[in-house]
Amino acid sequence: MNEAQAQGFNWELARAYIPWQRYTEKWDPLEGLRKGTIFPELYMPYHPTAR
């Protein structure tokens, strides 16, 4: 029995998966700096209202 089950959780708390990134293209420096990454595949802005 693991810690989560011991605390009464009968499902896993979390399981992270990280696909292996493969660099192909990047944004120009200024755009990357503005967007917080130079890799389009990592750009994931948080939009709380957009459901």
């Binding site: 990134q21 660099y23 990047k26 420096p29 200024l30 990357g32 700096l33 130079i38 890799f39």
Partner: protein
């Protein structure tokens, strides 16, 4: 801060960010030759831009990496938080 100086500083900031991003990627993908080549291009260009900036306007950082001929430019220049982009 005049226009040219701010534009050059912006380029340095952006290019340094690109080099840093490649640095992080290469930490986990050291064999990715395309990324390594582009990191080296960015790093070379960045060094050139910094050298140009510092020769014209004085040190970008105060860690003793850059001489300050004539006067102690570090205290004469605007502080980073005084620069608006």
């Amino acid at each position: 801060m005049d226009y040219d100086r701010r534009k050059l500083l912006e380029q340095i900031m952006a290019l340094e960010f690109t080099a840093l991003e490649f640095n992080l990627y290469l930490d986990t993908h050291p064999q990715d030759m395309k990324a390594l080549e582009e990191f080296n291009q960015a790093a070379r260009k960045l060094a050139q831009l910094k050298q140009e900036y510092e020769s014209r306007y004085g040190p970008l950082t105060n860690y003793g990496t850059t001489p300050s001929p004539g006067s102690w430019r570090w205290v004469e220049d605007p502080w980073p938080w005084e620069i608006t982009f």
